[in-house]
């Protein structure tokens, strides 16, 4: 599902070169649930951003769902993100001025889809995370755990094959964190979603199919 070959990412700022990723090779199969672990600053987020086509590697090649990512223009990349990938962030990043259902609808806005179909899909996905009774609420009126559930509903609303979660439980207490983990596991088993999750929590990582460890931009297994 996701192939990374020889991926290198170098940040150059004022004479300082940071090698965020160094010759990373990864093959993540369809339906796999992978966790990424490693100390802070070792390049985990950079890895996810590159997988999610939000960032471009300095060197190396990527394929997503057998599509080789090369010289696609901004519009094409946006479309691929829209169809193939759903993001979940540590700090949720819901749009505060929109209510819950509108937030979940977001990825569907960038598809050719009628308004009623979008609303229906958004409502269905809110139901999957158990928040259909909060459709008209605003993010500021929800708890952290609820916000992350909304974020998950948003990430899966467009039915992407891949979920990229960057420390999805990092801002939550362990009980809420476990709730989120349960939802992700279900999405993995029931909907066969490929999930890559960055986490610092060994307990959560143990529940996934595979743990990839990073240190200083390198994979260390």
């Amino acid at each position: 599902m996701i192939q990374l070959e020889n991926i290198q990412k170098i940040y150059r700022t004022r004479n300082i070169e940071t090698i965020a990723l160094d010759k990373v090779n990864l093959d993540i199969k369809k339906g796999e649930f992978v966790s990424v672990m490693g100390p802070s600053g070792c390049g985990k987020s950079t890895l996810l951003n590159i997988m999610g086509l939000l960032d471009k590697p300095t060197e190396g090649s990527i394929s997503i769902d057998d599509i080789h990512i090369g010289k696609q223009n901004d519009g094409k990349l946006a479309q691929l993100r829209n169809e193939k990938v759903g993001f979940i962030f540590q700090r949720f990043h819901l749009i505060n001025s929109l209510n819950i259902i509108d937030n979940v609808e977001l990825p569907l806005l960038y598809r050719n889809m009628s308004g009623s179909k979008r609303k229906k899909l958004a409502a269905e996905n809110l139901e999957r995370v158990g928040l259909s009774h909060r459709m008209k609420h605003f993010p500021s009126e929800l708890s952290g755990g609820q916000c992350q559930r909304v974020a998950i509903a948003r990430a899966i609303a467009g039915n992407p094959g891949i979920l990229l979660a960057d420390e999805p439980t990092g801002n939550l207490d362990s009980r809420m964190g476990n709730d989120i983990m349960e939802i992700l596991k279900q999405l993995n088993t029931n909907s066969n979603m490929t999930i890559v999750m960055v986490t610092h929590d060994e307990n959560l990582a143990k529940q996934t199919n595979r743990i990839i460890r990073f240190f200083d931009g390198r994979q260390v297994n």
Binding site: S40, S45, F87, L106, G115
Partner: protein, 418 residues
């Protein structure tokens, strides 16, 4: 897609009341001010009342006699009027007037009345509403009869509750017989407004030499465009015939004949400044655009400030599949819609001010109380304002929109431990 964009737009602007207010304020106040200024300008150029049909009237306000060293400017000379202008064939009617004041020392102190000295053609060129009697006629003019037309205000002051036609009235030490009473004339009818009208022939001591400027203004009644052209040509002919009669080295120019708009553009002070009304119109349009630019600049600066505030939203949208093009489109669309709302709001304000506070506006703009100047909003101008502000906001919105679309999701959606 547009429907959702519009819905989301409304949700976003209501959640960001402060910025929405700033944006709307700029555009709506500008449009309101332009609409109210237009009320003033329009009612100055086309004041209605006796000047209701002034688009058929050509005005000659003043004359300039000049040589390389000297220049004198003043009203039109009476000899010139009587010996040349009155002989013109092309106008339907010819009016001329000058004005003075009459100070009446009554029980309650000094009362000021405006007096116009007019010819008999006056009443043909302008359209007064008589509530009693009739205009001064040609026979009375020829015989220098001591007759007068007064307005409602003078009648009510000196002949309360009675008919006044046929009565005598003493003005500045002379006694006149009243032949007619006209409805009070609004203040914005600068040309036709007066409390008292007397035949110009009753005064003497006018300057008569060709080298002198006089004290009169002239108005020609025309039928149509072609007729106006003929009048202008005939008038130009007179000018060319008179120049040789002046002293060596002098030339003669007139402030006119002008249509109401041309007369407004020419202004009082300096007939020489008048280059041709197309030029002046361009200047007015330029000023208008300059004013319209203000809300556009307001919009740019507000949007630029908002980039920071909205960067999270932009980053999220990009992460979930919005292309840069799509975001630019969204932001431009939002600006345009906001500007549109601002425009409608501006119209609403103007309507409230102009119709809701009618008396206040009339007395402020025209220094007039009680004569019911009927003012109205120019909706064509509103459309022009709206469209030009939409275009300007679209163009100026490009800068912040492109900047916003450049926001990098990676930068604004940093996860991790911060």
């Amino acid at each position: 897609m547009w429907k959702t964009t519009i819905m989301q737009f409304f949700k976003i602007i209501f959640k960001n009341k402060f910025f929405t207010f700033l944006n709307l304020f700029g555009i709506s106040i500008t449009i309101m001010i332009i609409l109210i200024a237009a009320v003033k300008i329009e009612n100055t150029i086309w004041p209605g009342g006796p000047e209701e049909n002034n688009n058929n009237i050509l005005f000659v306000r003043n004359q300039v006699i000049s040589s390389d060293e000297q220049m004198s400017m003043g009203g039109v000379n009476l000899t010139l009027i009587e010996d040349y202008i009155l002989n013109m064939k092309t106008p339907q009617a010819i009016a001329f007037f000058n004005e003075t004041r009459w100070s009446y020392f009554g029980e309650n102190g000094v009362e000021e009345y405006s007096v116009k000295k007019v010819n008999s053609g006056w009443w043909q060129v302008f359209d007064y509403e008589f509530i009693e009697g009739r205009p001064i006629n040609q026979v009375e003019e020829k015989n220098s009869a001591n007759v007068v037309v007064i307005d409602e205000k003078v009648r009510n002051r000196f002949f309360p509750n009675e008919k006044s036609v046929g009565e005598l009235i003493e003005i500045s030490g002379k006694t006149y017989k009243i032949v007619g009473v006209v409805k009070e004339i609004p203040n914005n009818c600068v040309t036709t407004h007066a409390n008292i009208f007397i035949p110009y022939v009753l005064t003497d001591g006018y300057y008569r030499g060709m080298m002198e400027t006089g004290s009169f203004s002239v108005a020609f009644l025309s039928t149509d465009k072609a007729n106006k052209k003929l009048i202008k040509d005939e008038f130009e002919n007179i000018r060319l015939r008179i120049i040789p009669l002046l002293d060596e080295g002098f030339t003669l120019r007139f402030g006119g004949p002008d249509s109401p708009l041309e007369r407004y553009l020419r202004g009082w002070e300096n007939p020489d400044s008048y280059i041709g009304h197309t030029n002046e119109l361009l200047i007015i349009i330029g000023k208008f655009l300059l004013v319209m630019l203000l809300p556009a600049l307001n919009l740019i600066s507000i949007q630029l400030i908002r980039i920071h505030e909205r960067s999270e939203e932009i980053g999220v949208r990009k992460a979930f599949g919005a292309s840069r093009k799509r975001l630019i489109r969204q932001i431009l669309f939002e600006n345009t819609l906001l500007t549109f709302l601002g425009g409608i709001l501006g119209l609403l304000f103007a309507v409230i001010v102009v119709y809701g506070f009618n008396d206040f506006i009339v007395s402020t703009l025209f220094n007039d109380i009680g004569t019911n100047i009927s003012i109205s909003i120019n909706y064509v101008l509103f459309l022009i304002c709206l469209i030009s502000s939409l275009i300007l906001s679209f163009i100026s919105g490009m800068i912040p929109a492109v900047k916003m679309s450049r926001v990098q999701p990676v930068e604004v959606l940093k996860g991790g431990e911060l």
